[in-house]
């Protein structure tokens, strides 16, 4: 690697100052990189994060969130309800969330059995439907949350609630809070990325930093419907490496001359010069991380890259593992699209669930196997889920299922969650969470807890008061922690 600051005295002076910045940077203490990915001088009203650690040793360093946009049906995947098949076609009264919000009353609905068979897997004998045969091989690693419930009956509000803890108000996203709380692990990479995020249903707000300082914003990699996994402006392939280097050298020489000419100390201008150096390093390091061709054919096959139907999500999952290895704190791997009825949103054609399941099943199984193989599952949380679940009855007496925020399943693996453990349950039809209920706020609180962050202490002062991801709610679900 080329020495970028030939004037060693100047370089040393800068290093000293940088070391000082690191020590003082927003109380992230001990984390080498916080001032390097981004040095923020004057953002918001806050004096920076204070003591938001939980006091307990963190069980995980990072999260991979496999976002199943649109809402996977729990009774067709991981929440097995034999009674649903027995009473298929029966009409019963349900407090359907959409009808309740609209007309304030319960309505009569026709129960609809799952078109997919369930079988038991693993030592724990968990029931999983034939939609997820590969993922099911890992049930013994997984922690099932069957008693999930959340806010928002429609995609927009529920998706924002999932990501930001609020259905409508402009709030920082989960990954931004994590990055704010932990700082980045690797200075040469963004600390929070969202791979191929949907532009719909909240779009950039779902990985935005809202009122947190901008360096905690998520970085988008790739886009919906695109196979390429790129970060905007990361590289400039049209120029030879020599020409790029020559440009960079002239720029930094000019910058140093312009700074020196001012004849004064200026932290902001120092930081700008550092930012170019960091960018220069990033554009050499990050493309390597993004390059999946370095993986063996066997690994690629494990993620389903050899099958056109699984390649897209497989690519994203494989990239997630590489980012995870490289020290990215929060990696969201999206399966969705930009439409108003995204991906898993089968209101009228439930069998289409099978296409989506096929596209993600093998990649997810590959990711879990790979993380385990490399020992990464110990300090990485894999979190799988959507913005809500679906109803066990047919919508409008048809062939699909409507949204159901009152009861659904998410699962996690690794990161100090109890492997093979099942928490909570829905009623006999899989409609409403009745025991071991975990609200989305609670899930957020629990995930933060595993990262060593106390959701009540992780606050930011804005518009006259302290804000936090869980507002005034949320509790850590202790039962699921190993």
């Amino acid at each position: 690697m080329r020495n970028l600051s030939p004037e060693s005295a100047l370089a040393n002076a800068r290093l000293d100052r940088r070391a000082m910045l690191q020590r003082s940077a927003c109380g992230f203490g001990g984390l080498a990189a916080s001032a390097m990915w981004a040095s923020d001088l004057m953002a918001g009203e806050s004096t920076g994060a204070s003591t938001h650690r939980s006091g307990l040793p963190p069980r995980a360093k990072r999260i991979i969130f496999l976002f199943m946009q649109g809402g996977v049906s729990q009774v067709d995947s991981f929440d097995y309800k034999p009674l649903l098949a027995k009473r298929d076609g029966d009409k019963l009264t349900f407090s359907d969330a959409r009808q309740l919000a609209k007309i304030g009353k319960s309505t009569e609905q026709r129960l609809m059995q799952s078109p997919w068979k369930f079988q038991q897997y693993g030592q724990t004998g968990r029931w999983v439907s034939e939609l997820f045969p590969h993922t099911a091989e890992h049930v013994d690693e997984m922690t099932m949350f069957h008693g999930m419930h959340t806010e928002g009956v429609a995609h927009g509000p529920a998706t924002l609630f999932l990501h930001c803890g609020a259905t409508n108000f402009i709030r920082p996203s989960f990954g931004s809070w994590v990055l704010y709380g932990l700082g980045p692990e690797n200075a040469n990479l963004p600390g929070f990325v969202s791979i191929a995020p949907s532009a719909g249903n909240g779009g950039p707000r779902n990985y935005g930093s809202a009122f947190l300082p901008p360096e905690f914003q998520g970085t988008r990699i790739g886009a919906v419907g695109r196979m390429e996994l790129e970060i905007d402006s990361l590289t400039r392939d049209s120029l030879t490496p020599d020409m790029q280097l020559e440009n960079y050298d002239l720029l930094q020489q000019l910058n140093r001359a312009q700074l020196a000419r001012r004849g004064r100390v200026d932290r902001e201008l120092d930081a700008a010069i550092d930012s170019y150096e960091l960018a220069w390093n990033m554009q050499r390091v990050a493309p390597d991380v993004l390059n999946l061709n370095q993986e063996t054919a066997a690994t690629q096959a494990m993620y389903g890259l050899d099958d056109p139907k699984t390649r897209e999500y497989g690519n994203r999952c494989l990239l997630a593992r590489r980012l995870c290895e490289a020290g990215v704190r929060f990696i969201q791997v999206n399966y969705g699209d930009n439409s108003a009825n995204p991906a898993w949103d089968q209101h009228s054609n439930l069998p289409k669930h099978a296409d989506h399941a096929y596209a993600v099943d093998k990649p997810i199984a590959g990711l879990l196997a790979d993380l385990k193989l490399r020992g990464l599952l110990d300090d990485t949380i894999v979190w799988w889920g959507g913005e809500f679940g679906r109803t066990p009855y047919a919508q409008d007496n048809g062939t699909g299922r409507d949204h159901n925020p009152g009861g659904f399943t998410v699962w996690t693996a690794g990161g100090g969650f109890k492997p093979g453990y099942t928490h909570g349950e829905t009623d006999e039809f899989g409609f409403r969470a009745i025991r071991g209920k975990v609200h989305m706020h609670d899930l957020h609180a629990t995930l933060l807890h595993q990262l060593g962050l106390d959701h009540e202490q992780l606050t930011y002062h804005y518009a006259g008061r302290e804000f936090r991801l869980t507002d005034v709610y949320g509790r850590v679900v202790k039962d699921v922690i190993s």
Binding site: W37, A38, S39, L41, M42, A43, G44, A97, R98, A101, K102, G147, G152, A154, G156, P157, F169, I170, A199, G200, N201, G202, G203, P204, R205, A210, P213, D232, S233, L234, D242, M243, N247, Y248, L250, Q253, L254, N255, A257, Q258, R261, R262, G263, R264, E268, A272, S275, Y276, L278, A279, W280, Q283, N338, I434, K437, V438, A463, G464, R465, V472
Partner: protein, 834 residues
Amino acid sequence: MAAWLIGSPLLVVSLVADEPLDLDAFFESKIRPALIAHCLDCHALESEASGGLLLDSKQGWEAGGDSGTAIVRGDPTASRLWQAITYDDPHLQMPPDEKLSDAIIDDFRQWIAAGAHDPRQPETEPGKKKLSGLPVERALEHWAYRPLESTAGFSDEPSTPVNPLDVAEANPLTPLAGSASAAASAIDVLIYERLRIAKLEAAPEAEPATLARRLYFDLLGLPPTAEQLAEFLADNSEAAYARLVDRLLASPRFGETFARRWMDVVRYGDSITLRGFVLPQAWRYRDYLIDAFSSDRSFAQMIEEQLAGDLLNSDHPQERDAQLIATGFWALGNTNLEQQDKTQLEMDYIDEQLDVMGRTFLGQTLGCARCHDHKFDPIPTKDYYALAGILRSSVGMEHDNVSNWIEQPLPLPLEEEERYESLASERGQVVREIAELKKLVSALAKEKAKQEAKPQPATASDALGTDPPATDAAVIVSPAEQLEALEGRQKQLDRELKLRPRYLTIAERNPPQDIPIHVRGDVHNLGDVVPRGFMTALQHASPQLTSDQAGRLELARWIKADNNPLTARVYANRVWSWLMGQGLVASVDNFGTTGSAPSHPELLDWLARQLIDHEWSTKHLVRAIVMSQAYRRAVVEPTAAASETDPDNRLLWRGHARRISVEAMRDAMLQISGELDLAVGGSLIPNGLAEDYDFNHWEPRRSVYQPVFRNSLPQLFDPFDFANSSLPTGQRARSTTAPQALVLMNHPWVIGRAAHAAERFSACIDAEPELRMPAVMLDRLCLECFGRTATEEERVMAVQFLENLDENVDSRPVERLQHLIQILFASLDFRYLD
């Protein structure tokens, strides 16, 4: 029946079980463990008083929670606690994660029925939970709620010049006249007074070229061109700077730049994040702002127009339009129109409006009082709902699965109005004829179907299929053709009617009505009704609303009143921060008790008073500030004394180093590349654009005119700290990040501007052959980019770079030039102002 043991507090007959209960034992064995296991996590002094309710002591539940009394002794069904644990009320189910077992619920029933005996003593002072801030009665203890200080002692007359550096000996109340403006000198007097006390010396005035560049960016959002700079530097007269100020204030670029600053404050956007819905008419509000700042419309008037322009009634058509369009202020929120609970949606909408209004005009965080009395400021919840009651009479949405925002047709000149009316009435006629024809067609089809005894076609269009049966062809085809023609006409009329100018607004629809407090902000948990009204902490005259006045116009007038202590201070402080880089009150959107105190309270009040006394003229205030010596100071290395006493330059002993905004950066690149289109006003949104995803902002218009699409901002905006367009933003973040550096090095848009600039300056060589010399070209580029010629050091480096043509590797000279220009764009002197 067992005997009643009258007189013993500890033994009472259970009315249901007919068994006497040992109340202490019952509490200890059943109730206390249940409370600890299921309730105290959220209802104890040690944890939190969720819902305002404490269950860790008798005094706690006796005091009740936000929803009122928790337990009615002897009457379980009347007790909120009982209702909550039985999950009867869908909006109040406790504990929230899981219903208690039937046995425990029955224990509570028995316990309440038996009188809710509770032997526990409070461990801490009850009442501690009532966290309260400054009470309304004592609001004047906080500086911002006091009336403006009198400004006696300042004369409006210019006086003889005084050496500012000798001011320490001068009477601080004697106006200085280091410049042409008395107002500017008053500013300096107040600043020098503080410097004198702090024993700090003021920095000298910045170099003329530096100052000109600063002024151009601050007032016009653009760098001076080489010619503009030369013109200013050639003027050696005393009044050269004052003339430049006047010239810039008169430029149409001024309105564009100041409008953009105000757009930050009011969270301006041209689309909604949800589904990328485009707000096709929001731009009219933006153009209203540009025109208002350009023509120096009174800011008080702008307040009234933005808050209640629809309720005003100018006879002048253009003024009337402006008044209507200004109300777009209320409707720009990034609302989640898909929220299914419309009661909740409406309240969220009002909450957003109140939050924006409070911070924008009053520097108050009203939103904090939605769920409880403001914890720090004198804003009780009832004030919040008094204000919310005013806004409730106006609606911002028409509800549907996805609700719709409201657009209204703009009034038009009579003949235009008549044309649209006739189009509309023709459309009505066409629609009726189409319906008739469809019936006819369908009847014919049925007839035919009967005759052929075939299944009836599913739809009319099937009946009109491409292969009409030969027999009745003449009869069927004719109405079909007619139908087709009419449907075509309808589409055409729809298109024309869509062209009618409309504006984004809210509508006065609901009859004026007071609304109840929403307990803890919950729309389904209503408390006492609160009469419509204003912030009670502000002591200036609050009008009484009559029952038929919704109150929005009165609210606007209450806010813009000269004796409202907040409004003029908040706005004067904004203008100051726009020009000086930081506010006298650093927390520009928060003048409450948690905000910062003013560094120069007298100066703040003096600026506010100037604003009021000069008909709320923004330009007057701007002129006063930029003419001051404080504005004109050089950015210098601090002296030891200054680093010690005032390292942050709060006392303004030197100039603040600043960076240019992303809009200015983008516009400057376009200006230097020769592509900048300086057309004023209008929409860049293509007709009928439905969603904002992946919008390509290609037009070389000024940044202010690029649609603020919340899902796809213009190039550069995101990484370079553009204001979050969903939140009122008085002060943008100032981050320095690697992604910014990557954009300047690698973004195709930046590369494209450098390429254009290289072509532009190469083409100049024909007319100016001396530009063929790299050093001359470099000076020209530096003048455009930095407002100065190249330094010797820069010259050596850059000339070497331009001449370093390795024929094996690259490249035509113009490519080298392009790289050099892009490097100048990325360099510190382009991005930062001294």
